[in-house]
């Protein structure tokens, strides 16, 4: 399976601007720039898209894993927080922290914690990341 995206940049790195587009058109000439990446300028940035992809992948994988165990998850919500730091003058994405909450009728907390931890390790996006992935998982009652 192949997924495509496109970036277009015009001008210099600091003062120029870019636009991102994906096949689904969820992003369509969506602005990004130095300011939207390293400051608080308007527009998206690669890091929040990575965080969204990871939150999305983990959450879908957790739902599938719970269903495979005969559970019926009603709702799963996950926040992903990506940290990028400077090391030897270059930017490095060091960690992604996932915080998930789920309502799964009839499931005990211990099993939920185990399935969530397994999903953190095995979801396709977790596996492709060279970064520390941490997880807080809470079963809502």
């Amino acid at each position: 399976m192949k997924r495509n995206a496109n970036a277009r940049w015009q001008g210099s790195a600091h003062d120029g601007s870019g636009a991102l587009t994906v096949d689904s058109a969820t992003l369509k000439d969506t602005p990004y720039s130095f300011k939207s990446r390293f400051g608080d300028g308007r527009g998206t940035n690669p890091e929040e898209l990575l965080a969204a992809a990871h939150a999305g992948c983990f959450t879908m994988a957790l739902s599938l894993a719970l269903v495979n165990r005969g559970c019926h998850p009603e709702m799963i919500e996950t926040k992903a927080r990506l940290t990028m730091d400077q090391s030897n003058a270059s930017w490095i994405i060091t960690t992604i922290h996932l915080e998930t909450q789920a309502r799964v009728p009839g499931l005990d907390g211990e099993t939920f914690a185990r399935v969530a931890e397994e999903t953190k390790v095995s979801c396709p996006i977790s596996k492709v990341l060279n970064a520390t992935v941490t997880l807080d998982a809470e079963l809502l009652v």
């Binding site: 192949k2 992809a53 596996k127 990341l129």
Partner: protein, 141 residues
């Protein structure tokens, strides 16, 4: 620096549906689902967001490297194609191919190729991804 995103899922993995949101609001309860991910259903999917993040990161990095060498691009266009394949029964992101076309006044092809290769190797998202990254970089017209 921290970047945030969130995912919310309701119902089972295959028939349920989710939404993704990012800090900037570029994704704002944007739908995604099993069918949008593994078929041609409407909505986004984690893989195209990774491709967008990578295309965006590489292109901005290339802009910086050009500036550092005394050049400013009129336009840089990059397409990222992510491949998701089943490996031993598990979905795995195996590679991302970057194809970039650039209009950069005054630069020669060899210098451009060198800078593009550096951007591919060193941009933060390239270093984050544990997948084969390939590049086809050329000056346009």
């Amino acid at each position: 620096m921290k970047r945030k995103a969130s995912a919310r899922w309701q119902g089972t993995g295959k028939e349920g549906g989710g939404t993704l949101s990012t800090q900037s609001g570029v994704l704002n309860d944007t739908p995604y689902s099993f069918v949008a991910r593994f078929g041609d259903g409407k909505g986004t999917n984690p893989e195209e967001l990774i491709a967008a993040g990578h295309a965006g990161c590489f292109t901005m990095a290339l802009s910086f490297m050009l500036n550092g060498a005394g050049f400013t691009a009129d336009a840089l266009d990059t397409e990222a194609t992510l491949t998701l394949d089943q490996v031993n029964g598990n979905w795995t992101v195996t590679g991302i191919h970057l194809m970039t076309r650039a209009r950069v006044p005054g630069i020669d092809a060899a210098k451009f190729a060198e800078l593009a290769s550096n951007a591919k190797a060193n941009c933060p998202i390239s270093r984050l991804l544990n997948a084969s990254i390939t590049l086809d970089a050329a000056l346009a017209g």
